[in-house]
Amino acid sequence: MQTLTSERLTELKLKANDVRQGIIRSLLAAGSGHSAGPLDMADVFTALYGYLLRHDPQRPDWEDRDRLLLSCGHIAPVRYSAMANFGYFPVEELLTLRKFGTRLQGHPERVTLPSVETTSGPLGEGLAQGVGIALGAKLDGKDFHVWVVTSDAEHQCDLHWEAMMTAAKFHLDNLTCVIDRNFIQIDGSTEDVMPLEPLGDKYRAFNWEVFECDGNDIGAFIETAERARSVKGRPAVVVANTVPGKGVPYMEGDYTWHGKPPNAQQAEEALRELQTARERILANV
């Protein structure tokens, strides 16, 4: 069992800062893509790759690795940046995002980059595939864990609810769903577009164990996710409350940053803000 020391936590915070800077640089190079979601999930992906997952970047096809599925493929920049910062490929490759011939497709493709586990982008499909993997693991007596990261808005898709029912039917306690609860989608607030609340109660009604935490607090997220992972007999969900655009003050909480990248000037400002935040982390040690 690992222990989350304050030194380790500081390292993870610095990593999350690196991940955010990678997101900004890759989006600027791409000239298109999504900003708000990737930034708000930098802490969760850092916690997963840096602490929670059983994985080996040198052996992405390791049979007993934990599986991390990204259902909402449009926030791929955060996954790519986290993977690069945790050793799956060189950080410079992030600058190929969305360009011709890249492994870093606009929405992730497993065939070109196997360690993303699934091809995703069409919403609502990740949990269903995670259910299949988790059931397959149970059938074969494998002990790896399946993590599925979803957006909140993709709970508007029917397939996700089919998967929720099925995970409970098969008592998939080797499956944990993490929801990026940032309350935004392309057309505005989730609660205006198609209300999701009470989201946790909906999972409870589907026989899931429900946890909730600040998804931008790495320590709180790790502590909550570990509790979710240890639930027995039923699947668990972590509602990770996040601030869209987290880490870049002019984007924070503004849904219009859902689906667009920063321009050169905005990127420069974002990187400056992130650098300042980095210095604050170091100063507080």
Partner: protein
């Protein structure tokens, strides 16, 4: 030549093609314990029951959720399982097409779809349950294999062959009892069309249960009109046996395609694409003419929608005329 029953003398048994799937799956499940049967609340009508009884640990019931059927199977395939997912073709791949494209084909997963109740010969259930567009929507997807066997015996062989073929596949079959023209000894190979009857006036290229109608039409054409037809069982729609299609067109100089599907965008359209590029000849298309089905007796509907023996005879005579 292929080993066939003595269909000319009416020596045919009537067995639903779906039975062949059920039998093939039991055999496949015994050969490889990674073979799974995943059912969306249609275990009896898709013929899952024998598999469920023989291998209960390889059988998964998920209820009425066809999108999940595909997506969950994608996950299972990614950890080494070989999932056969079965529903009515109208719902899978009809309802689940985007998951089929993304999770099976683009993501290259080893998932096998059994599309039951295809064609108007579903009968009394009516248009909502009669898939006559499924070949079109499946053959257009890269990486997909599409097979429409001619009878129950061939459906069993196709089930086994497709289980062993790595990659996403679509196996299409019907509900109603239909003529069994092949035998246990008739060979079957994915991607290899079969010439069931020789002739050099008109080539009838057919798939599915209508191969029998094509054979009967060929007998009538020979007897009543002196037209000798080559009859090709073109069971693999994708990848299609181009050489067999080109050879039939070259030998006969004209082609009739026969399928229980919309005339547009199905097997016949693929034949036309091949021949337009390599061996242009007149083509007549037998199939449903841009309409939906309705309730009725299965073979009454096949006749009504222009796919009966006489309709094939008429199409072959038109094709013969157009050669001149």
């Amino acid at each position: 030549m292929y080993d066939l029953v003595d269909y000319r003398n009416g020596d045919v048994k009537m067995v639903p093609t779906r039975n062949g799937f059920g039998e093939g799956l039991v055999e496949a499940g015994g050969r490889d314990r990674n073979v799974l049967g995943i059912c969306a609340d249609l275990s009896e009508s898709t013929r899952f029951e024998a598999f469920k009884k023989a291998y209960p640990k390889q059988y998964v019931e998920i209820g009425v959720s066809e999108q999940l059927l595909v997506a969950m199977a994608g996950g299972l395939a990614s950890v080494g399982k070989i999932p056969w997912i079965a529903s009515y073709a109208m719902f899978n791949p009809g309802r689940s097409w985007e998951q089929v494209r993304t999770i099976m084909a683009l993501n290259e997963t080893n998932v096998k779809i059994a599309g039951a109740h295809a064609g108007v010969s579903v009968g009394p259930d009516g248009a909502t349950h009669q898939a006559i567009e499924d070949i079109a929507i499946m053959r257009v997807i890269p990486n997909m294999t599409v097979v429409v066997p001619c009878d129950a015996a061939q459906t069993k062989k196709a089930t086994l062959a497709l289980t062993e073929r790595w990659g996403p596949v679509y196996l299409r079959f019907g509900r109603e009892k239909s003529a069994v023209v092949t035998t246990a000894a008739t060979s079957f190979e994915i991607g290899k069309a079969q010439t069931f009857r020789e002739g050099s006036d008109v080539a009838i290229v057919a798939c599915g249960i209508l191969v029998y109608n094509a054979l009967m039409a060929a007998e009538k054409l020979a007897r009543d009109h002196g037209i000798e037809c080559r009859v090709v069982n073109n069971h693999t729609i994708k990848p299609m046996d181009e050489e067999a299609v080109v050879d039939a067109a070259r030998t006969c100089g004209t082609v009739v395609t026969v399928e229980e599907h919309q005339r547009h965008a199905g097997m016949g359209s693929r034949v036309a694409e091949i021949l337009a590029a390599r061996q242009p000849v007149p083509i007549e298309f037998v199939g449903v003419d841009d309409r939906f089905g309705q309730s009725g007796d299965p073979f009454e509907l096949v006749e009504y929608y222009g796919m009966g023996v006489d309709a094939i005879v008429a199409a072959a005579r038109r094709a013969q005329e157009r050669k001149k």
